[in-house]
Amino acid sequence: MPIRTIVGMTVLAACLLLAGCGSASSDSGSPADSGIEAGVRPELELVVLHTNDNWGETEPCG
């Protein structure tokens, strides 16, 4: 095998390694890839108490 081919294959392998291609230690187990939607918020139970025309008799429930 010509030396240029060997050097080329070595450089290609190094690039693939650095890019993480085929690596067993890639982040395929991260929440984003595993289908867990980290951004989805749970529903919230909201209570809204609201008043209007507060001014009235000052006795409670006169």
């Binding site: 139970e45 809204v48 108490l49 609201h50 008043t51 209007n52 507060n54």
Partner: protein
């Protein structure tokens, strides 16, 4: 309010305005100071500015705005002197992971109030709702406009999830959805001079992951003698001689 704060996952406490002084009689000596102090003690999240608040006059209203400690809202009333907002046009409240934008609108009393300039509510909402919507998950319109007018505005503006209004022609007994946009609309009570401040509206609703509201249940709760006086509120009222 304390009880509900303990029980609910999240509580909002809102007032539609016309809260600080009584209609049709001379203004109180304290010019609404005691009511603002009481609302502050209860930790109101926001209040809409009503015509009665505007009727306090510029000096007293500026004092109440400074004292409040909670946002007093109106997107359609400006100071005539410099055309700045009298209060705040809207506020953004945090509710767990959600952001709730509350826009205030004021009813035009139709009489001369030289200190203020009124803007048309429909034009204000058309411009403001998209701006607020871009910042929050849920949009609330808090207003002393009549119930039906508020519903029509919400339908025209779109993007409003909840309308908390005033002045219904008749007291509804449930939360209503507007016909076009499907906004929720509620009101606390029909006011009569001397017979107001006796009920509080309670809306229970689920905030969905996209900020939409669903599963609503609403009731008008009578503030009867079965609800014990709060000692801190009693002390505050005593300090004002009431």
């Amino acid at each position: 309010v304390e009880e509900q704060r303990e029980q609910a996952e999240h509580l909002l406490l809102l007032d539609t305005g016309d809260a600080l002084i009584e209609e049709g009689s001379s203004q109180s000596a304290a010019m609404g100071e005691e009511v603002v102090a009481g609302m502050r003690l209860m930790a109101y999240d926001a209040m809409a500015i009503g015509p009665l608040e505007l009727g306090l006059g510029a000096e007293a209203l500026r004092q109440r705005l400074d004292e409040a400690g909670f946002p007093m809202l109106s997107a359609n009333v400006l100071w005539s002197a410099d055309r700045s907002y009298v209060g705040e046009a809207y506020t953004v409240l945090e509710a767990g992971p959600y952001r709730i934008g509350v826009i205030g609108l004021t009813r035009d009393p139709g009489v001369g109030l030289a200190d203020y300039v009124f803007l048309e509510p429909d034009g204000v909402l058309a411009e403001l709702v998209p701006q607020v919507e871009a910042q929050v998950d849920t949009v609330v319109l808090l207003t002393n406009l009549p119930y039906r007018s508020a519903a029509q505005l919400a339908d025209a503006a779109s993007g409003i999830d909840l309308v908390v209004a005033a002045l219904p022609r008749q007291l509804p007994d449930h939360a209503v959805r507007t016909s076009r946009a499907g906004s929720l609309i509620v009101t606390a009570e029909q006011p009569f001079p001397g017979h107001t401040g006796r009920r509080v509206g309670k809306l229970s609703v689920m905030v969905q992951s996209d900020g939409a509201l669903s599963g609503e249940a609403w009731e008008s709760v009578a503030l009867g003698p079965d609800i014990a006086d709060d000692p801190a509120m009693s002390d505050l009222l005593a300090a004002y001689g009431e």
